[in-house]
């Protein structure tokens, strides 16, 4: 009881602080100094119309590399936590005989509507994901968003065809290669242009075209592939865990 009271008191105090913050808040009417610089110089320097992409990929590119690394570590952590040891698997296989009736109920196949919709929509979902990360420098979108769309396509596949499996080897190879190429592109920026992850070592091209803005489309394609495969692997891990008898 005293604990509840304490929590309530703490939240009430926090709410008071927040209320003061919100009450005294007034909209900015001009950009911050940093934002002003990016908006003024960004399109000329980097040739990317989408300034959020310019900030994420180039100006703050090192942060994005760290972000990709965090995502990789969390995917590896999920893999480690949900891994099945040989002994567990054997024990479960033995149990399976006793629980055959129960599992028969839980392994209901997907309905025909879901299966047909998946066959129709899956190529389009993946194509849309690729479109989103290829156009990250021109329109709202980018590597992370495109990767998440591709992973939603994988989710679709896993819902409709629960028996399908994703090749671990393919995921590992694609993920490592794209992560490695990302770092290589960054180092190329140091050698050929102004600094780590500088996109200007490739031709900036015509402003607003698909193949422009130097290395930004290349970097976002690599990020998109990496994120898409990583999230697909995470979904697959959770599914594998779920399908076993608990």
């Amino acid at each position: 009881m005293i604990k509840r009271l304490f929590i309530f008191l703490m939240l009430a105090l926090l709410a008071m602080i927040f209320f003061n913050l919100a009450a005294n808040y007034s909209e900015n009417t001009t950009l911050s100094k940093l934002g002003h610089y990016y908006v003024e110089k960004g399109p000329q320097e980097l040739g990317a119309p989408n300034l959020v992409t310019a900030v994420v990929v180039t100006y703050r590119g090192l942060d994005t590399l760290g972000e990709v690394t965090v995502l990789f570590i969390s995917a590896a952590g999920v893999g480690l936590l949900l891994r099945r040891t040989r002994r567990q698997q054997d024990g479960e296989d033995l149990e399976k005989g006793d629980r055959a009736e129960e599992t028969a109920i839980t392994h209901r196949p997907a309905s025909e509507i879901v299966e047909t919709a998946t066959e129709l929509l899956l190529p389009m979902v993946i194509l849309f994901g690729i479109y989103v990360f290829m156009n990250g420098h021109l329109s709202p979108g980018g590597g992370f968003q495109g990767g998440a769309i591709i992973a939603s396509g994988t989710m679709f596949l896993l819902l409709a065809l629960p028996e399908s499996h994703i090749s671990r080897l393919l995921v590992a190879i694609t993920e490592s290669l794209s992560g490695f190429s990302y770092v290589i592109v960054g180092v190329l920026g140091v050698i050929l242009a102004g600094g780590f992850l500088d996109n200007r070592f490739m031709d900036l091209g015509n402003y607003g075209e698909l193949f422009s803005a130097g290395a930004i489309p290349l970097i976002y394609t690599l990020v998109g592939l990496k994120v898409g495969f990583e999230l697909s692997a995470v979904l697959d891990r959770f599914r594998k865990e779920d399908s076993g008898p608990l």
């Binding site: 509840r4 929590i7 939240l11 926090l14 709410a15 927040f18 209320f19 913050l21 919100a22 808040y25 909209e27 900015n28 009417t29 001009t30 950009l31 911050s32 940093l34 934002g35 002003h36 990016y38 908006v39 003024e40 960004g42 399109p43 119309p49 989408n50 300034l51 959020v52 310019a54 900030v55 994420v56 703050r60 942060d63 994005t64 972000e67 965090v70 995502l71 570590i73 969390s74 995917a75 952590g77 999920v78 936590l81 949900l82 021109l138 329109s139 709202p140 980018g142 992370f144 607003g208 994120v227 995470v234 891990r237 959770f238 865990e241 608990l246």
Partner: protein, 126 residues
């Protein structure tokens, strides 16, 4: 019309973001089910993102994409701050990774203890 003038969109986003932070924190502190605690964390995460986006808003600003719709010469006065948006993009991805790890911990706890109640996991309690 007056209400819209009194409460611009950024105030609404800021207010609901702060409310979501408190709701999420309340859920994390009071709920005993691990899945509900994770949901509380996600709510708080979303609230923080909304507050950050609201702070980056410039009155009358549009998305910071400089093309035909936003002429280059006038861009500085017409777009919102791109820096908070980029930070939120990073924060969303990190939040997703943290949530995935927490959910796999929850699954692991369920496998070993057959329960999702946090009261059962008392050996690390002080």
């Amino acid at each position: 019309m007056n209400i819209i003038a009194d409460f611009p969109i950024s105030h609404i986003v800021l207010g609901s973001g702060l409310a979501l932070i408190i709701i999420g924190l309340w859920g994390m502190l009071t709920q005993r089910n691990i899945i509900r605690i994770i949901i509380g964390f996600s709510l708080m995460d979303t609230g923080i993102h909304m507050v950050m986006v609201a702070i980056g808003y410039i009155t009358g600003g549009t998305a910071p994409i400089i093309n035909d719709a936003v002429p280059f010469a006038d861009a500085v006065n017409r777009v919102v701050d791109p820096v908070p948006s980029a930070l939120v993009l990073t924060a969303i991805v990190i939040g997703l990774g943290v949530t995935a790890v927490m959910l796999s911990f929850a699954l692991r706890i369920y496998k070993t203890r057959k329960t999702l109640m946090i009261d059962e996991c008392s050996e690390s309690k002080w």
